[in-house]
Each structure stands twice: as C-alpha cells, then as structure tokens.
Amino acid sequence: MNPTDIIRAIQENIARVIKGKPQVIEMSLVALLARGHLLFEDVPGVGKTTLAHSLAKSLDCSFKRIQFTSDLLPSDIVGVSIFNRQKQAFEFMPGPIFANIVLADEINRTTPKTQSSLLEAMSEAQISFDNKTYPLNQPFMVIATQNPAEYHGTFPLPESQLDRFLMRLRIGYPSPEEEKKVLDRPQSLHPAEELRPLLATQDVLLLQEQVDRVLMEESITDYLLAIVQRTRQSDLLSLGVSTRGALALSRAAKALSLVRGRTYCLPDDIKELAPIVLSHRIMVARTCCVNLLPFFSECFATGRRA
C-alpha cells in the first residue's frame, strides 16, 4: 500500500466537501503528517470548521470542538476533578482536549489564561492537572480558527503561542463555479457527515513516521537555513524566525514531499511552504503593512546563491 495513494484518497475525500480548495486541503494534510497544528485565519463562513471536521472524519479519529468565548475557563478545555461519593475521592473527568483532532473555534475570543492552557497541550502533547500529568491521544492536532476582521473584544494570540502553530492558512472565497456547487448540495445534511474514514489512527502515526524518513539533501537544508538567517538580519523585520520555526519548515517540507509522492525534498517545497510556515513567526518592524512576498523572493534568491 502506497502512502501517496492513501494521501491522495484522503484529499479526494475532503475535496468532496470543500470545493475548489485543493491547496488548502493539501496543506492541512501536510500539517497533520508533520505533527503540527493549524491556524486558520479568515473571515467567517468560508469553511474553516467544515474543513477541520472533514479532516477528522476522513481519518477515523476522535474529534472535539471547543467554541472559545471570553468566559471559557481552562477547566472547560482540560477537564475537571469531581468528587466521587462512593470512592470518597476526587476523580478526573477529561475535557474535550482528549481527542485526536481538536477544533478551537475563534481562539482569540478567550482570555490569555485559557489560551495558555491550550499551550501546554499543543507543545508537549500532555496535560498537567492537580500535579498529575495526563498524556493526550496520538495523533494530536489542534486546528484553531480566528477571525481577522473583527478584533473587538478579542485577545490576540501572543507570539509565543503563534509559534506553536505549524502553519497559518487562509482559505479565501471559492470561485463562483465552485460556490455554485456548494449551493446545489442538499442542505439538510452536514456535508462532512457523509464522509467515511479512510485511515485508521495507527496508520496516521505510521504516515507521520514516514515523514522522518524523507530525505532532505544538504544543499536544501542550507537553502532553508539561509532563508531563516535572512529573516533575522532583515531591517524590515523586528523579529526573525526562531529555531523552532526552522525546524517547522523542515518538517513541513518533508511532509509535503511525502504528500506529493516523493521520497526526497525539493527546493520547490521550501519555497512554497515558507510563506505559510514562517509568516506568523515574524514581526514586521514598520506597521505600515508590507507585502512580504517580495521580501521572501529576495530571501529565496539569497538562499540559492548560498
């Protein structure tokens, strides 16, 4: 059984629900295989939640959704201790974070305290509660969404937390033709409900192991490091890419190679992934919003010369 074929099957499966967005589907699979978390930043109603739902449905994984609100408490995510009368002891009731895929909807609506409870889970894949640690399910993936248009009453995620997302994606509006297809669909059923799982949980872990075996040739590593180096030295940016960011780019590139059926990375992978993996890890020095793409092009050219 070929990993490429499995991945293609999953992509086709999701594409039956999310019309006209193959790149976004591909990238969310890359994030999954790279053991990363996803941040969707887009206006409401373009299918962020549906995409997350479809991904979970295609994988035979447990899926929980947390709607983040300003009064959400950490215990609403992690779980609570409840006193058990029969046993005369406190018992831990796991929260919604104990699932394979967790959709954190409108993550910037909640307080930093609650946000940070998600933090440990995302980076360490475990939960500490009452001086005890509980390992989370594997695979574990957080798909968070936030609405860039409406900042009123929100708590923007701090840099440290943004850094824990492998990539930040935008979905964007579909083309009119694709949108028509969406409208033509029967509305009674949630489109993601009719998907059937294609991949068992342990097979997802196997695929994730596969990613580690993808070959990244030395010159490509150099290329990646040159790009990272460039962001740190640039005058345009006040904060460059961290080492964790470099690592994330490397992992994502390997995962993308696997998704595209290769056993080795290409410079194309790095170039394609750099904007979505790195852009939320840097801070632009001047607030007059800059289009970063020309900057990246410059970075790539530097890398190639190196």
Binding site: M1, Q210, T263, Y264, L266, D268, R304
Partner: protein, 730 residues
C-alpha cells in the same frame, strides 16, 4: 533479471504449464488451444521487452468495460457449452477457464490480477490432474511445482504497494528508492529450486501417508475398454488379422523366475475352440463353472489336466497386469494351475479357459502359476490308441470339407506311425510350405481354408492353426484351436513382457493319449511384426514403458490397501530399528534403564509411541521451517542493490537543457526552484514542456533524492534533450 520482470515471466510460465497440462489432459478444442497458446506467447513476448509487441498489445487492448463484457460473454458461452455443445460440466468448465485465462493474460496490471492468474492456473492443473492418469502428468506437475514456488517467492519479494482503497497499512512502509531494483541472484535461484524440491518431497510423504480415494475418475476414455478380437464364443476365420497392426498395450507379464526360455517367446492362452463350420470357430464346451477358492484370493485348478500323471513339466510364475479389455478372459501361460488376485470369483470352462464374471473396467493385476505340458515318452513310441469318449466326441468334428484336405493330410502323414510324429509332420509341412502374410484376404470367402491350403498358400496364424487342426482331425487325431497372445517383446529394464494388440495369436493344441493336450504352433515366426528403427530407440521406448508401468502401479493405482502395506512395512522397519537402538542404549545406560525400564515398556506397548514417532519429526521439521521463515537468513544475501552512479551525466544534461532554454529566451532565475521552472517553461513553450519535465524529474531525483537514473532513463533523457534541441520555438 530484476524481480518484477522475473515475476511476470514466472507468472506467465505458470499459466503456460497449467495450459499444457490441460491441453494434454482434456483435449481442448483446437481453436481454443491455439488461441490460448497465442495469448501466452504474446504475453511472453511483451514481457521480453519487445517494444513493438508491447505497443501493439496496448493498441489492441480494449477498455475495462470491454473486457468485463467479454467475461460475461464467456460465462454465457459456458452455459451454452454445458447445456448443448459438450453437454457436461467439466469440459465446459475447462473451456471457460481457458477463456478466463486469455482475458487475464491481457489484463496483468495490478497484483491482484496476478493472483487471479495463479488461481486460474491452479484450477487448471487440478482439472488436468483429475482428467488424466498418464505419465506425462508427472513432468508437467513437477514443472508446475517449480514454477509455482518461483512465482510465489517473487510475488512475496516484490511487495509493491498498490490497491489504493485498502485502509490498513499492515507493513511498515519504507520509501523504496525507485531505481534500485532487486535482482535475481544465484542464491535466490538455488533457494527457489531447493524449496520446490523440498515441497515435492513433502508432497510425496503426504501422498503415501494420507488416505486417498481413487484418481482419474474423469479421465479421457475412462471406462472404455480396449476392443479385442478372438476371445468371444465365436470367432470368424480372419478376424484376428486386422488387429495385427494395433500396437496398443494389452497386458504386461512379469516373470519372477527371470527371463524366459524358448527363444524369448511366451504363449498366453486365452480361449480354446472345438467346432469349426467351415468359416468360423465356436466353443461348444462353454459351460462355465466357478473355480473353488483355496486360500482367500487363490483359485486352484485341479482338473485342468485330463490325465492324472504325476510327472509334470516346468512351472512358470507370472504376474500379469491386464489392461481393461472387452472380454472377461484371463490370459496366462498354458496350463493354469493356480490363480491369485483380488477377484470375488473366477470361472473356467471345460477347455481350461479362465474367465472373470464380467469384463473389468480398470487395470487388474493377478498372478498365475502355470505348468507346461511336455510330451511323455510313452507317446513317442505309442501306436494310435484309444481316446476317451469325451475327447472323441468334441475334438474330432470336421466341417463338410472337400475330400482334398483329407487326402492332403494322409499324403503328408502316411509315412509316420505315431500320433506325435504325424502331428509333427503336418506342423512342419505347414511351417515350410506356406508364406506368412498379413495381406492375406480377410473373410468373405466361401472356403477360406481351401483357399489358404491350395490356392493362395499365404495366410496368418489363424489360417495355419485352422489348417492344422482340421488336417489332424481328418486323420483321427483330436485337436483344437486356441487363441491368445504370443509375447515376444521382453523389457529388460522392468523384467516383463509387453503384450500388445498386435501380438494376438492363434495356435493348436493336440491331444496325445498319454500326455494330454500339448501346444503346437504351425505359424512360422513373424517377420513383419518386428518394427524398424534403431535399437537405441527401442531401448528408450522400453525404459519409458517401465516408468509408465511403475507410475501406474505406485501412483495411479495406489490404493488404501497399498497404503496400509507401506505403513505396516515402515512400522516393522521402525520397530526393528527401535529395538536395535534400544539394545545399544540399554547396554550404555543400563543403570538408568533399570529405573525407566518399566515406563519404556509401558510406552512401547501402546500406540502412543508409534504416533509419537510420526509426530515428533514432523513437529521438529515444522519448527525448523518456521524458524527459517522468521529469521529469513537468506534474504540479506539475496537482494542486492544496484549502485551505478550516473548522477554526473544527468546533471550535465540538465545544465545543457538550462543553457538551451536560456538561449531560447526562457532564463532560469536564481530564485527559481526546478519545478517552478518547469511550470514556467510549460507556460511559455508548451511543446517543450514534457521533455523539460522528464529531464527535470531525473535531475531532481539524482540531485536531491540521491537516486541515480538507470541506463534506460538516461538514454531516454538524452533523446528528450535531442528532441528539445531540434524543436522550434514559436
């Protein structure tokens, strides 16, 4: 040869083997056999790398729907075939199987197609096994076994992941570099053949130990007996003639006392006749009575000799394997004393012929003790004396022949005085004055005997024998005609006579007053019967016949009873071996033995021990196999990787391509990674797109994936580049 190519070859050979087996066994209709053969050859050629053939095949291929339709048509054809054309399930099924095989051969794409092909060929070889018991099945089956082991090994070793719809991943996936192909090494070769041999050995063991039912129920011609002539109640003169050219084997006679005497001839007596009406012989003494059974399976003839003379001739022990004939007569050398075989009962008539109750439909084996009847000295000097009434009544009958036969007989014998001398005189007269020929006129003559004696003077055994009998009778000597076989073909490899249809013979029995019936054969030795060809060729034929005989005896006819005998022998052997081992052990370990003696005694009494003797080696063998299967110590040595480094070449090619494209106005910027450049080229110069893409792919694999291109890929890339150079940019 790379594994995947070897797999394709092996698979097609497997199909071919089963096809050959089925063609020989079932007698496929010619068009189907030719079609299947052509499909197999086409598949072989395609895999041999014939580019043009491959292309041709892909052009002629139909769509999947077309093939599916063909399968449905074939299935309908199967029903038509079964209900109207061949009318039976098995032939129709076999035909349908071949159609399926043809379709599969053109659709070998996925791994499950290969599995289907294996299943089809397995069913085919099984079908041919149930359709035949002939010797040729053995080499075909062996070949199938060898190719089968090869195919399955290769199938396991080329685990190409396909089948996109399967959900679980059972085997940890390793990225297999595309160009490093596993090769068939000598080790692999020997391992595969060794495994096949071991399998065959195991099969033999299973064959001889596991109870079985009969085989070959459906074989071609099963139940059709060989047609013979001359062994019924009535025999027309000239009836034996036409079969004298039929070489099919009727029986085989093994002689336990070594090669025969009497110039290598053995008479096998069948039926005797007493009445001649001028054209045909009949047996009036055909009242059959059951022969008493002495011991179980042994029948003794006490009265086969009319005289109670204690002085008897030499005994001949024969072991006869009689093919299914259309007559119930049991043949044996004259004169039968004792017959043993697996018969419920046997019968004999007054002329000493022996019959089964009904003709057997399968090959039967029986052994006979015969005693030849020599001429006693009393008869050599005796005057014509008194014959018993019963003999005179039956064996002096003469048809209303013209007087000239009687005159001729008297003329020949008037100088002789004794009965024996007279008989000998007629015998030598016939032997010397007449010509043996199979071209003699057959029946449809009013007076065949006169024709033979006075006009043509040419004939074969029946004419000679009839002439002698009638001439003897005209001068008052009782005689009768006997039909049977004259065995001349001695097989020195198996120590037996091969008796064929063409060995059918007729001769004379003369009654002497003291000796009783003695055998005389007036027919001169046949010259035509000896075929042409080199002696080496004949020796080979005899050798093959020996093998065929043993095949039939030990495999085809191998029955539960034989199995029991084998087990008994093994048990006896193992008991003696065990006793021997036990003795030597007991001298060594007598103190311990004293302690465990009681237990050992107890164990040897029961059947538990004999069971354990079988089980323990089996378990050990299985354990070894399992261990080998898990450890697979040979796998490392078997799969070698190809490490040719043609990276430099492909990089040069890529560089030349970039340079050429730059001259054409498509420059590669430094910030442009390879695939992006391919897209750019495709946008700007679509004709060049495919060539650029394929060269770039090879370059990327070599440069970033460290997978060197193969020779073929390199030459392909060079061709692409050459095409690119000649291409005009719009």
């Amino acid at each position: 040869m790379p594994f995947d190519q070897a797999l394709r070859f092996a698979s097609i050979w497997l199909a071919s083997t089963s096809f050959i087996g089925l063609t020989l066994g079932a007698g496929l209709p010619e068009w189907l056999a030719v079609l299947t053969g052509a499909a197999l050859i086409a598949a072989l050629l395609r895999n041999a790398g014939g580019k043009s053939v491959g292309r041709l095949a892909t052009y002629t291929l139909m769509s999947t729907t077309g093939w599916n339709l063909l399968v449905i048509v074939g299935f309908l054809g199967f029903w038509v075939d079964m209900l109207w054309v061949s009318g039976e399930l098995l032939p129709a099924g076999v035909h349908f199987l071949m159609v399926l095989m043809i379709i599969k051969l053109f659709n070998l794409k996925l791994r499950r197609d290969y599995l289907h092909l294996y299943a089809i060929s397995l069913v085919a070889i099984l079908a041919s096994g149930s359709l035949t018991t002939d010797l040729w099945y053995l080499p075909i089956f062996l070949l199938y076994l060898f190719v089968g082991v090869w195919t399955l090994l290769l199938f396991q070793l080329t685990k190409h992941p396909e089948e996109p719809r399967i959900l679980t991943m059972s085997v940890a996936m390793r990225p297999q570099p595309l160009a490093s192909v596993s090769q068939v090494t000598p080790q692999f070769f020997w391992l595969a053949n060794g495994l096949a041999l071991a399998t065959f050995g195991l099969t033999l063991v299973i064959f001889f130990t596991i109870p079985r039912v009969g085989a070959g129920f459906y074989q071609k011609g099963f139940g059709e007996n060989i047609r013979t002539s001359g062994f019924s109640e009535t025999v027309n003169l000239g009836e034996i003639g036409p079969i004298k050219r039929d070489p099919s084997v009727v029986m085989r006679v093994e002689l336990s006392d070594g090669p025969p005497q009497e110039a290598g001839r053995l008479y096998l007596r069948g039926v005797a006749f007493d009445q001649y009406d001028g054209k045909a012989w009949t047996n009036r003494l055909n009242y059959r009575r059951a022969v008493s059974e002495d011991v179980a399976g042994t029948f003794v003839f006490r009265s086969s000799r009319s005289l109670a003379t204690p002085r008897l001739g030499d005994t001949i022990r024969q072991n006869i394997l009689l093919e299914p004939l259309d007559t119930p007569v049991l043949f044996a050398a004259p004169f039968i004393e004792r017959v043993s075989g697996k018969f419920p009962s046997i019968q004999s008539d007054l002329t000493g012929s022996v019959y089964l109750p009904f003709p057997s439909s399968s090959r039967i084996e029986y052994s006979v003790l015969s005693r030849s009847n020599p001429v006693l000295p009393e008869d050599l000097g005796a005057e014509p004396s008194v014959y018993p009434e019963s003999v005179i009544r039956h064996f002096l009958q003469i048809p209303s022949q013209p007087e000239r036969i009687a005159v001729l007989a008297k003329e020949i014998t008037h100088t002789q005085r004794t009965i024996y001398d007279k008989a000998t005189a007629i015998h030598s007269f016939l032997t010397h004055n007449f010509r043996y020929s199979l071209d003699a006129p057959l029946t449809e003559q009013d007076q065949p005997l006169e024709e033979f004696l006075f006009t043509r003077k040419t004939g074969y055994c029946e004419h000679y024998a009839t002439a002698m009998v009638i001439m003897l009778r005209t001068i008052g000597i009782p005689a009768r005609l006997v039909t049977g076989f004259l065995a001349t073909e001695w097989n020195e490899y198996g120590n037996y006579y091969v008796v064929r249809q063409q060995d059918a013979h007729a001769w004379v029995e003369v009654h002497l007053p003291h000796s009783g019936w003695i055998t005389m054969d007036p027919t001169p030795p046949s010259i035509e019967g000896i075929g042409s060809g080199s002696p080496a060729w004949h020796a080979l034929g005899r050798m093959l016949d020996t093998i065929r005989l043993q095949w039939g005896r030990f495999f085809v006819q191998y029955s539960a009873a034989d199995q029991l005998a084998v087990v008994r022998e093994l048990k006896a052997g193992s008991t003696s071996a065990r006793n021997k081992a036990f003795d030597s052990m007991s001298t060594l370990f007598s103190p311990f033995m004293a302690m465990f003696g009681g237990m050992a005694d107890y164990a040897s009494k029961g059947t538990i021990q004999s069971l354990a003797e079988v089980l323990v080696p089996t378990l050990i063998g299985l354990a070894v196999l399992l261990w080998l299967g898990i450890r697979r110590p040979w796998v490392k040595g078997m799969i070698s990787k190809k490490t040719t480094r043609d990276e430099q070449v492909i990089m040069q090619l890529y560089g030349r391509m970039i340079g050429h494209l730059a001259r054409k106005g498509i420059a590669k910027l430094t910030a442009m990674p390879p695939l992006e450049f391919v897209r750019l080229t495709q946008e700007r110069w679509s004709n060049a797109g495919s060539a650029v893409a394929s060269i770039t792919e090879l370059y990327c694999r070599a440069r970033f994936g460290q997978i060197p291109p193969t020779r073929e890929e390199l030459s392909l890339a060079e061709n692409h580049l050459r095409d690119l150079m000649t291409l005009e940019k719009p």
